[in-house]
Symmetry: D2
Subunit: 376 residues, 4 copies
């Protein structure tokens, strides 16, 4: 039962809560003081992850209005740990009555039963519920405001749902306007028609009482060069360690990623060039903004491979943990046939938390002006 | 300049050294006491990573005989930190004279120049050199002996070199004999003819003064179920944070990985079954041995996407950091056209270190018997 | 603004909240699952720390009924992070209006003003308030129940208030009955008359518009031998790192502590002996239960040097941070003339948290039986 | 067997080695790049700790010339982990033959036997040997050069040996010249005659086949105000966690420390004042340079309570771990009757490491100029 839900070093987030318990929340420690946080923007980001927006998502509606109980005063961070929490409401625990005995394939039921020796809260997946990603979104929504004020923008899109693909993020440079549009969208895509194809694919999965996976592609622009370090201090280690905390993520790749396996060095090595105003940039971005574990100053680009939702209505084979006999399982309840669109704001949130940690660890975050000297 | 080369929590490895400095090495803290370590096996694992074995690798020969200067007595671990180091010899620093001024595309030269403000040791890549992976192999070779004694085996193969592919690891169960064969091979493949095709591809890249990437697939068998945890305590976060420490790794995926994006839930959810002797297993292993961040008891399977070697003989475009003018760069020196075969033992080593950390963190490692009671 | 309020490794506590903000609380991650937690005992421990019990404490009354919003189900821990929070009520912010400009001597006002660049919540000391120790008590009250079930008891007494001293804890063995009595008391002392003398000393300080410091002595019994480790893994490092988190603690010593400086080795070395039932014990306990950073199995004994409350009614010299002129400061509001009695349960709480972390890190905590097999 | 010998966060030190093994050493990760390190100064600091200088220390002579095998180039740090190691020579293992069976009172023999299940290297105390403090001195000697260049000085003195006391460090301000003198001395005292009295006391202990403890007082000047944080991020937690890593330290106190228990608040609260050049200082320094866990800008002052050397020639009672019978033990070999003078440079070294970590964690270390721009 080791500690599992604390992440980070100079910036630390601690996530708590269970799907059907009284509340979920996050404590963010290490935030710079004096940073204005707009609660409207916070709510807007959380709404992107919230279910029930359209047919692609679960009909369960979450009010999900976070309450910030510490670390803020008069709209600014105080520098003390910021705790934001959300009360759980509208929980129908009855739906999950038999999950303890017969674990859902593809879900954490069986492994949690072993790990916690049967004592974990199984209602709605407990602490393993995708609902906990709302806490990541709260943390991310706060961090991204601090980053945006310093010219660091984050956006993502649904790169694939099953076999249906969106156009890739443009490169090597990514316009701010695109990231702003994507990071405000509920179903962020680069090509509008991709959304239609993807929604159709999701609807097909729903009709089959099944689910479908996909890919999220995310970019962080505006990071200065030289952040990170060799070996385990690399940007990839930092980002992947939080990104794999998102349930359903089974793969993380940066830049050309697994595609680099098919490239020659002469294709994958991004040539350096000098811009008109004397900046060093690269002519393409196969590196995804990272060389030697350190930022190049080019957009940091990563993709997440997301498995299909494990809760499906189709009958599945499982084992009764009391009788140790095989059984057919039918999962009832409200489940997304595809979590990929809702994973996009979660991916951005993790990127925001990781990027702020990266800046802090490298001593590269310019703090807010002293109080009273803001306009000096 | 944050600390970058320490990994782990209950088991901690600290890596030091620069390619052309006096020595490289690793300190391993938290090893269980009383564990016999066979230095022959240690050398055998290190030889798999060492360059100069055949045409696919750099002609530089490394004696690379590690000296263990602490933590061992009479062939057994003492429980104190174990430091193993290797003296650097046969270094030809002259080859790297102009790298400071003109960074190699795809390499850490530019980002390190920014990060260290020009003070890093650039000879041979310094602390960013692939040579540092020898330290991972030392740590891994020690950890895997401790694991093997407890029935936990690790093996990997070259799944792809450029477009040439090996057969995938068999599933859901993986025979010990296969892992033993792979983990002793210099160019580990499942199908013998794959090696020929891959070697030919590597040779083509060399002839083109170019390099080629690939994929390593690795498995860990024998881990008990229930290790790991939710959110950031997940097995994927733990493993990826060390695996991305391997230079050239640009993607990490578990089980079906990015391929899960193309699956329906009914295809990706592994049905549970009961074996004749009452064990719970799954009928396939799309999960790669991990559900909800915790081990299922099935083989833990992951793949690494490895980019082509960045040092290539072909002329490339770069920028002179003193003049800020673009230049053509020709990289001289001894470089692998493909590091993928040598990355296999490094991947296994990281897996061994991570698996031992996982066991320790979950209180799941049975310690050696008390001294004098070994045969009781 | 580095993260400051997270402690621990395998057991992690994250504390949040500000004295006059909406709430304070703690997240405890890494608790073993299946542990019954008695909320009555939790409240009883918290009541010991709460102010307003008698004249020695501030008249401010805190309801301080914690709400556990995660990590508990049906009276048992689930193994997920446990978050307990307390709403702040009865806050009179007006009292603190001029503290920002004129820092109180001996308090964090000036250093926090520098650290947070003026953005911290100064009301009631904000995140620096002694009120935050209620969060330590919540965490400790939970951990000590888990420990007590395994025969590990914790108790402390007010060893000194100013020049008035209690008898020391008896040694080398400490009866369970004494620890039980002390750990239930509001003003824990070994000799009843010490309380009278100490209360008189506190009253004298109050009459002088002044405050007084003291010493808390604490013991943990029932820890098995061999927990801890050399160098920074020592029990002293672990315990001191949390104990110095208690505001007003300026010294921590173990066993003979600073008194050992006056001893000869022949007096300080505790001779080993064998008990009737074959246990190894020591004939005295100058080591305070720790040798080489590891537990001896004897009672772990430590003392805390606690400074007088910094908020006093007497006029003091300070500096106006806006005018940079020296000023006389009169601190108004409600302040304890002596926090030492209330520090005793806080010290015990820190010891409980540290002892549980110590057991977990050493793989020495026997987990609860599997659910359904509790009585097998 | 948890990891024990790694300390720090943004600056990390990993210590390895056993008293009679091949070598001891330290890896320092996170050092800023481009810092000149004078090896003469390094040797001078190490010589202060080395035994055999006079009658107060063990006659064993250690050459103890460290070899830096990484992280340095042309006399400057490269920013990569710096590993310094010392070969062990002149080891006479025979002296320790019976320690495994009959543990020395006051030493780690018994607890290590339990912890490591008998597998630890007992020769000379193994990894628990005071010899390992040479590694702390190496780390400290490097860090203090980096600090001194930024106006941060560290010095200490032998405040007490048994009942013999030196004058306390002057306050509130401490002259640089005093710290420079103390930090170059083998037996650092403020009053010359104190050394004579202390040497006499040590000689008396030796004549009695006994040993004697003492107190070291240390100061760090030049730290800016505002470093550190509340709760566990406090300077006291940081410093104590490394200081208690020094064997024989049983108490750590800051400023007035345990003496604050005897003070009234009006005596302990340091009044703020403004200096002629507009700096805020305090008129005394009972706080020891720390308020609310953060530096005040005044000298950081701490004291260590050091127990008498546990290895004494006098016969002692112990238990044979094989027969479980009580025995009289006579410890042979070469042992200091008093380690306090040699503990002074170790205390300074820990302070240097902790102070550099503190600066890095607070983003308060100005890095070296870019290479080539040093004199710009």
């Amino acid at each position: 039962m080791p500690a599992s839900s604390v992440w980070g070093n100079n910036l630390r987030i601690s996530i708590f809560g269970e799907s059907h318990g009284p509340a979920i929340g996050v404590v963010i420690d290490g935030l710079p003081a004096g940073e204005p946080i707009d609660e409207g923007e916070l709510l807007a980001q959380m709404a992107r992850r919230a279910p029930g927006r359209d047919k692609s998502a679960t009909p369960r509606r979450e009010a999900d209005t976070p309450e910030i109980v510490s670390g803020m005063l008069d709209g600014r961070t105080t520098g003390a740990p910021l705790c934001a929490l959300i009360r759980n409401t509208n929980t129908r625990s009855g739906d999950y009555a038999n999950l303890q005995q017969v674990p859902r394939p593809g879900h954490s039921d069986y492994t949690a039963w072993v790990h916690y020796r049967g004592w974990n809260d199984v209602r709605g997946g407990g602490h393993f519920s995708g609902r906990l990603t709302a806490c990541l979104c709260m943390a991310g929504a706060i961090c991204r405001q601090i980053l945006a004020r310093r010219g660091i923008l984050i956006g993502s899109h649904v790169a694939a749902v099953g076999p249906e693909r969106d156009a890739p993020l443009p490169g090597p440079e990514i316009p701010d306007s695109l990231l702003r549009r994507l990071s405000a969208a509920y179903f962020p895509v680069i090509e509008a028609e991709a959304e239609d194809r993807m929604r159709a694919e999701i609807e097909r999965a729903r009709m089959d009482c099944d689910s479908v996976g996909g890919v999220v592609e995310c970019a962080v622009t505006g990071l200065p060069a030289g952040l990170g370090g060799p070996l385990f201090g690399g940007v990839e280690s930092l980002f992947s360690s939080i990104l794999f905390g998102i349930p359903a993520v089974k793969g993380v790749e940066f830049g050309a990623g697994f595609g680099a396996a098919l490239l020659r060095g002469s294709e994958d090595n991004d040539p350096f060039r000098v811009t008109g105003n004397g900046e060093i940039r690269t002519g393409r971005n196969c590196a995804g903004g990272i060389l030697g574990g350190m930022t190049t100053g080019m957009p940091l680009v990563f993709r997440l491979g997301i498995k299909p939702t494990s809760s499906i209505a189709k009958p599945q084979r499982s084992v009764n943990l009391e009788t140790f006999r095989e059984e057919e399982l039918r999962v009832h309840g409200r489940h997304d046939p595809c979590v990929v669109p809702r994973a996009a704001p979660v991916a951005e949130s993790c990127a925001a938390v990781a990027a702020l940690e990266l800046l802090l660890t490298n001593g590269a975050l310019v703090p807010a002006a002293r109080r009273g000297e803001e306009h000096a």
